[in-house]
Symmetry: C2
């Protein structure tokens, strides 16, 4: 409420001196500085961000761009947002929540056009993402949670899918399993270009290959019914499969249901792994599922930090983008066990 001018008057100095003293932007005599700080504290002075931003082009506002929650915006995505907001707040920045509905690029153009935004934090980045192209072209500082197919030169924090897959495969190999089925998201237009969907499948295949584990990909389920169907198909056609990794929580519900219907039990007859789900969710199952929990909070925090680092004036133009991968945390639940005996029998072909 109180302006720089009022502080100046109260401290008997010029406005510019107050500004300098408070921002440390030029040397100020210790005595006057003390007077100024006293006056400022006394009046409860707060610099007006609008005025400051108007002249300095630095608003301290970051935009978090997330897709409209058509595709399940879950706990994980929320964690990105809240931890990013927290990291921003710790650095003196503010985070603006920007749902991009129909036209993300238009929304982006608007946000930067009105001079509100200093930088953008991108969520739910796809392998090919028009938002990225636009931001690069416009020269707007940004960083990503997730990454495009070719993220060279762009700051991002993403899941280390390779390490995650290795951990998962090592886990089941340690239990004695020799085959692994991977239930991915349904191959709709979205999943086809969605980073986690694509990369998880790839890296699980690689990790399985490295460990000599037979890998069954090409299975998909995004609902209870589809999960159920997928397991039934497996039980019929590949009864030798002893371990299943599932990307979608509801699909896991279906698998568990089908397993029970068949008179099987988890983990005695089947080892079930949740991929990219929080322990919070894994705990809702009975038995408590083993899960690869995404480092959501850390990714959100990292993404925000990276963006903020870019915005620091001393960062210069020759700044190297930071790119960081963080593996999921393997949290072993009650759904992990050795393969059932005699699983080799009944292998078709």
């Amino acid at each position: 409420m109180s302006s720089l001018r009022e502080v100046a008057k109260q401290a008997n100095v010029a406005v510019s001196t107050v500004s300098a003293a408070l921002n440390g932007t030029r040397p100020v005599a210790a005595a006057t500085r003390a007077r100024i700080e006293l006056a400022a504290a006394d009046l409860g002075y707060r610099p007006n961000l609008l005025a400051r931003g108007l002249v300095s082009k630095r608003t301290g506002i970051l935009a978090l761009l997330y897709p409209a929650p058509n595709r399940g915006f879950g706990l994980t995505e929320m964690q990105f947002a809240t931890s990013a907001a927290e990291a921003a707040s710790e650095a003196g920045y503010h985070l603006l929540l920007s749902p991009d509905k129909s036209d993300p690029v238009a929304e982006l153009r608007h946000l930067t056009g009105v001079g509100l935004i200093e930088g953008v934090l991108l969520m739910e980045v796809r392998l090919d993402d028009e938002r990225v192209d636009h931001l690069v072209a416009a020269g707007t500082p940004f960083s990503m949670i997730g990454r495009t197919r070719q993220p060279a030169g762009i700051s991002y924090a993403d899941i280390d899918f390779a390490a995650t897959a290795r951990d998962a495969v090592d886990h089941i190999v340690g239990l004695g399993h020799r085959t692994l089925a991977f239930l991915n998201h349904s191959p709709d237009a979205y999943a086809a270009l969605y980073g986690p969907t694509v990369r998880c499948a790839e890296e699980f295949a690689v990790a399985a290959g490295d460990r000599g584990v037979e890998y069954l990909g090409d299975l998909h389920a995004d609902s209870v019914e589809q999960g159920r169907a997928a397991f039934e198909w497996l039980a019929t056609n590949r009864p030798d499969v002893t371990a299943v990794a599932v990307m979608n929580d509801h699909a896991a519900v279906g698998v568990l249901g089908a397993v029970a219907d068949r008179g099987w039990r988890v983990p005695e007859d089947l080892t079930l792994l949740l991929v990219l789900s929080s322990v919070e969710v894994a705990r809702m199952f009975h038995p408590r599922l083993t899960t690869l929990e995404p480092p959501s909070a850390e990714l959100g925090r990292l993404g925000a930090r990276m963006l903020i680092d870019q915005l620091q004036p001393d960062a210069g133009e020759g700044k190297t983008p930071r790119q960081q991968l963080v593996p999921c945390r393997l949290v072993v639940g009650e759904s992990s066990g050795p393969p059932r005996r005699g699983a080799e029998t009944g292998v078709p072909e």
Copy 2:
């Protein structure tokens, strides 16, 4: 990027005329208005929000205050945020995410002090809430999702707990139940003043009384173990109880586990109700649980709308606060059934 001045030059008029034409703030000749609009579109003009806010005190930015997600930040809370953001965006406003960590009032003072915020949307409102007191005292426009003990004069959108409890009780009465146990949150310092915790318990008691259903309150569980313990206590001491309503998802997991251990089944031997959980969550259970789903998206939207309405200049000072209650949606799952036969036997005392 391009300023009002450039548009003015291009259209051969004064800046003030451009401003007037674009904002409709004073009559402008049709011809010149056309010229101006053409020039503006041509240059891709966007009004600078900082400059505008500096003079008009209207920034178009709303702050969403939410508690640091220590206490389970679930799907529900997430929905508030996203739907509020969406509603704000539709009205041309922006939503700032403000985690209030240690000192919410200081955070609030900061936000309004720097002139960034036009109004505040409060989440997780408690029966006695210092943030509310501060906002009222400071004269900052705000609205609440949830409400305090005495919300007179303040705009809010909250759950209609009375209607919700009635629906729930009617549901089980319709099935033939005569007793209902209510598993509330654990009575820690937080829950003691948390609206839903308190109001749900009260209204369930009232609704049960109205329908002649025996009500067992004073039960609490916020974890799997506590849920398990609670059910075991019930089975031992009140084997006549045939229906249980649970506030906490994890507690429900515990109840289900204990039910199974006892050789009982849901819904044959016990009807289980989730209270204030999304179907998304209810579906994760086996059997799929009946739930009273909170109208999160609607509340978020309503809260934002109410705040925005307050901010309209034509709202005047004599504006009546809007207060709206929305009941939960009863979604019947597979955990609802008639009471088991012979439940009356074995009633202690």
